[in-house]
């Protein structure tokens, strides 16, 4: 019995348990980071679509998929923001000297 319980617990732990409140927060963060990048003029084309798909997945009850998409969107948004900062500091390096 004890053994069975351990096995069941292990199975539970290995399955991704995604709380939808966490996903909502992740989507919000992706969205606000995307808007920051857009305000700087460095938004990428796919980020908004990823966020939309994440929202839809969440609504459809697939929190795991929503989390995956939102993480991808957040990564993109963060990178586009880094790109804005990089460009701000380094654009002159690319002009013919």
């Amino acid at each position: 019995m004890k053994k069975l319980l351990v096995v069941a617990m292990a199975a539970l732990l290995s399955a991704p348990v995604v709380a939808s409140t966490e996903v909502v927060a992740l989507i919000d963060k992706a969205q606000s980071t995307r808007l920051q990048a857009a305000a700087a003029g460095f938004e990428w084309t796919k980020t908004a679509g990823l966020i939309k798909s994440a929202q839809k997945a969440l609504k459809d009850g697939d929190a795991a998929l929503a989390q995956k998409l939102a993480s991808k969107a957040l990564k993109q948004a963060e990178n586009s923001l880094l790109q804005a900062q990089y460009s701000d500091q380094h654009w002159q390096d690319h002009a013919p000297q």
Binding site: F42, E43, W44, T45, S87
Partner: protein, 282 residues
């Protein structure tokens, strides 16, 4: 006293109006940039005549040049020039026409654009001026990427063929607009992390997938262009948006500040080259 101020203001307005006669410190800075910009290409493509850069990628790619020359023998934009002229001459509902909005009735003025408008404090492009003209005469503005605006622009460009740009940088605000466009050009953008300069300077002439990017020197002189891919005429800002999207960067609106400043920068780099719009492209 008031009269003297008015006269001074008038004189100032005149002196900045003709940049060539009255070179500003900003014109000098831009000329320095321009000479480095040109040298970059003249060194890279030693056998290409500087005057040939107005022909875009065909200046440096012999393989596609032949086909392009055949196309230019029977230019696909020829009808568009006529259509543009018709539109240009057709009176507005109020009886006036485009000619009333432009110097010299709008003939051979393409070379004066884009310029920094001191009253509106922004870069004025030909397409923006066309729409301001329409609005001032009670007409609806046109879309900026294709259609009538491209036809009108094509006709007006045609009347300035073989002329050189007559543009300058009259003051600090104009120079700031230039710098903004310059920064745009050298900034990496999009998921592919590429700047305009990565393709149109560094990789100019190299095969990227199926395409060879043209040298940036000469960009803008031949617009609007008839592209077989578009199946029609398109404006420079339509092309800008396409190049942004190709690197998965969110494009900006045609005739928004970003692209107008970019056009200002690119045009200033092309001073001395002749205008040859409209032209044909793949």
């Amino acid at each position: 006293m008031k009269k003297i101020i008015t006269i001074c203001a008038l004189l100032a307005a005149f002196s900045v109006g003709s940049a060539s006669a009255n070179e500003t410190q900003f014109d000098k800075l831009v000329a320095e940039d321009g000479s480095k910009f040109r040298s970059y290409f003249l060194n890279k493509f030693a056998s290409v005549e500087v005057t040939d850069y107005v022909n875009g990628v065909y200046a440096i790619d012999a393989k596609s040049r032949e086909q392009w020359e055949e196309i230019e023998d029977f230019p696909p934009y020829e009808l568009s020039i006529d259509e543009g002229q018709e539109l240009f001459e057709k009176p507005f509902a109020n009886g006036k026409s485009y000619a009333s909005c432009f110097a010299n009735d709008g003939i051979n003025v393409r070379k004066n654009y884009p310029y920094y408008d001191l009253e509106l404090s922004k870069v004025m492009t030909l397409e923006l001026a066309i729409n301001l003209c329409r609005e001032a005469n009670g007409e609806k503005p046109l879309g900026y990427k294709k259609g009538d605006i491209a036809l009108l622009s094509a006709y007006m460009a045609y009347t300035s063929r073989d002329e050189t740009f007559n543009i300058g940088v009259p003051n600090q605000a104009a120079y700031d607009a230039y710098l903004d466009g310059k920064k745009f050009f050298y900034s990496k953008r999009g998921q592919l992390n590429l700047a305009c300069s990565d393709c149109h300077l560094v990789a100019a002439g190299q095969k990227l997938r199926a395409d060879i990017p043209s040298p940036a020197l000469g960009h803008t002189t031949g617009f609007p262009v008839y592209r077989s891919k578009w199946g029609g005429l398109g404006t420079l800002h339509r092309r800008y948006a396409g190049c942004n999207k190709n690197v998965r960067a969110q494009p900006f609106s045609a005739q928004g500040e970003e692209y107008r400043n970019l056009e200002f920068f690119q045009s200033l780099m092309n001073q001395g080259l002749v205008l040859n719009g409209p032209s044909a492209r793949k």
